[in-house]
């Protein structure tokens, strides 16, 4: 390389470094601003309720409490979001898919111990596990028993990497017990179940993408996710099985949050707030909310009560026990079954 070339290259490199530094400094500058504003609330949540929050914020802005509040929002995988807040992401209000993601922040001293002392036990939105199928249900899938028939291919999010996927697996396990089966029967069912699993996408949203992209005959999903997909024009149907699992999504206000955040949470739990969640397919956590839900099987009666509804507290002894028993990395029941079925 000639000297002339080298010096030109040197100048170019110097310019590049200068430009990069400038960009980095600007980026840091904008990131740090605006947080001191008392009227700005930071919402950190998992990705599914994003659509609901869009309209919730608009409705709240029309009230005296919500006037002039500006929002900083962050959405992502529930576990990732919780870990981000734990390691310093600013949040006034958090909404997660799993209770354990809130407990993590309670342990870190960011959320008060009594966050779940209210009438709704800290939950702001509910849903149930459903079976999403192709338009017209060509394989005639109506129950959990239909899933383990030969030739059925199942999509369910990966219970290893997606916390919310665990609702599905517990539903599949619990329905065997609920219909009088033993733990061994439930394990046998899950072995057959995983033998039929064609894909374990990383998150609930990825699973929906894979399913609408043509993979699988049935997607184990959440009622609100199925309704939202139908609202956005996807050609799928869904079945609420006779026995299914109640999904409860917790939310909390951080200890150091702006007082407005508490008002926001109160609003979310009011009839007006719950109505917006319901419109996007979530089941309400309070009584007396009735609106038409577009995308539901029957918009006028969107949330049929299943014959038997399992809950994490009554049927599995809470998330802590369930996480250890079923999803421990080495000894978890599901982990073991997945390894076994993976080998064959």
């Amino acid at each position: 390389m000639s000297t002339r070339n080298r010096s030109r290259l040197g100048r170019f490199a110097a310019g590049l470094v200068a430009a990069t530094v400038a960009v980095a400094v600007t980026a840091c500058g904008t990131g740090g601003g605006a947080t001191g504003d008392a009227k700005t609330l930071s919402l950190v949540g998992y990705s599914v309720p994003k659509a609901a929050y869009g309209s919730l914020e608009k409705v709240w802005a029309k009230t005296a409490d919500g006037k002039d509040v500006r929002w900083k929002e962050s959405y992502g995988a529930s576990g990732d979001q919780s870990r981000a807040v734990e390691s310093g992401l600013k949040a006034d209000y958090v909404h997660f898919s799993l209770e354990t993601d809130v407990t993590r922040l309670v342990k870190a001293g960011l959320i008060a111990d009594d966050w779940n002392a209210g009438a709704n036990k800290g939950m702001v939105s509910d849903s149930v596990v459903v079976l999403a199928v192709r338009k017209g249900n060509p394989k005639g899938i109506k129950s959990w028993a239909d899933l383990v028939k030969p030739g059925i291919s199942i999509i369910t999010p990966n219970p290893g990497s997606s916390g919310s996927a665990r609702w599905n697996i517990l539903a599949a396990y619990g329905q065997v017990i609920a219909s009088g089966g033993s733990e061994a029967d439930a394990e046998a069912y899950l072995t057959k179940f995983f033998n039929n699993v064609a894909a374990l996408p990383s998150s609930g949203r990825d699973a929906t993408s894979a399913f609408t992209g043509g993979t699988g005959d049935v997607l184990i999903s959440y009622e609100n996710e199925a309704i939202l997909a139908r609202q956005s024009g996807e050609d799928i149907d869904y079945v609420v099985p006779d026995t299914t699992m109640l999904i409860e999504n917790p939310a909390a206000v951080l200890e150091k949050a702006d007082p407005k955040a508490k008002k926001w949470l109160d609003f979310l739990l009011s009839k007006e707030g719950q109505t917006e969640f319901v419109k996007k397919g979530f089941r309400p956590v309070i009584d007396g909310v009735s609106v038409n839900v577009e995308g539901a099987n029957d918009p006028a009666n969107p949330f049929p009560a299943p014959k038997k509804l399992l809950t994490i507290t009554d049927d599995f002894g809470g998330w802590k026990d369930a996480a250890d028993k079923f999803f421990d990395e080495t000894n978890g029941l599901i982990t073991k079954i997945q390894k076994e079925t993976g080998k064959s």
């Binding site: 040197g10 490199a13 110097a14 470094v17 576990g79 870990r83 993590r104 990966n158 290893g160 990497s161 997606s162 916390g163 699993v197 064609a198 894909a199 374990l200 996408p201 990383s202 990825d206 993408s209 894979a210 992209g213 043509g214 993979t215 999803f327 421990d328 990395e329 080495t330 982990t335 997945q338 390894k339 993976g342 080998k343």
Partner: protein
């Protein structure tokens, strides 16, 4: 006490180069060294037994084996096909060459999750060309191949363009056949570039996540790659296990890069 006429090597650096070296070292430390040290520290937090337990876990081992083997395979393919594409782009003239030049970089430019969606719609169950490899190991291979395509092409291309054709012509006039000319004259000049491209393509494949998650199905023991495995560990709050897997990959990547370097020197010496 410096005797006149003897230059101390450090003084040879001009102010400009010192500044440059300083910035380079700082930059490198902040962006590369510190995170690497953090990974190693996090791994060591669990101690050897924990590291060994992670490594010998069937599911994790299967993921590591799959990722490394497929990355090696993809790199081998890239070395051949990448060099070929670079050759075609530099030496041949054909209609649409400029378009191809641009299209080569698409895997670079495309967000990987978009790449994943594209791959799913092209090679999934609804494939318009009738190829369905969804949820198989071929899907992982395909995703790796897609994201690593530009590396060898882009490193070899400029070197090939600078290469003087005179010595090739001279060799030809002395009666050397095409393959001999390529092996004895062209290849030795291209080798450093090919090796650099191969190393990058291997490293990129090992770390790939976005483009394959939708198509591969993440099936434990079958199509689950290390990045998905690490994500599972993180989800379970087991950071040291995730870091342990990362360390294994790091060592593997280092070994491959060193091996490539040794290979290149050997060939260069023989040439």
């Amino acid at each position: 006490m410096t005797a006149p006429g003897i230059t101390v090597p450090a003084n040879r650096l001009t102010t400009g180069s010192r500044l440059g070296l300083g910035i380079a070292t700082l930059w490198f430390s902040l962006l590369v060294l510190l995170p690497l040290v953090a990974v190693v520290v996090e791994t060591s937090r669990g101690g050897w037994p924990a590291f060994w337990q992670t490594f010998t876990d069937e599911q994790t081992f299967a993921a590591i084996r799959l990722t490394l083997l497929e990355a090696l395979l993809v790199t081998a393919v890239n070395v051949v096909i990448g060099t070929l594409i670079a050759w075609v782009l530099v030496r041949d003239d054909f209609p649409g060459k400029r378009v191809l030049e641009v299209v080569i970089d698409v895997p670079f430019a495309l967000p990987t999750i978009v790449a994943g969606l594209v791959l799913l719609s092209l090679y999934g169950p609804q494939s318009p060309i009738g190829v369905d490899v969804a949820n198989t190991r071929i899907a992982v291979f395909l995703a790796f191949l897609f994201v690593t395509l530009p590396f060898v092409v882009r490193t070899v291309q400029p070197v090939l363009a600078e290469l003087d054709t005179e010595s090739e012509q001279a060799a030809a006039s002395l009666g050397a056949s095409g393959p001999v000319i390529f092996r004895r004259i062209v290849l030795p000049s291209l080798l450093p570039a090919i090796v650099a491209g191969a190393a990058m393509s291997f490293a990129r494949a090992v770390s790939e996540y976005g483009s394959l998650v939708l198509l591969s199905g993440n099936l434990p023991m079958r199509t689950e790659v290390t990045s998905v495995r690490m994500l599972s560990y993180i989800e379970n709050g087991n950071l040291s296990a995730a870091a342990a897997v990362a360390s294994v990959l790091l060592v593997a990547a280092l070994l491959v890069i060193v091996a490539l370097e040794v290979l290149q020197r050997k060939v260069a010496r023989r040439g």
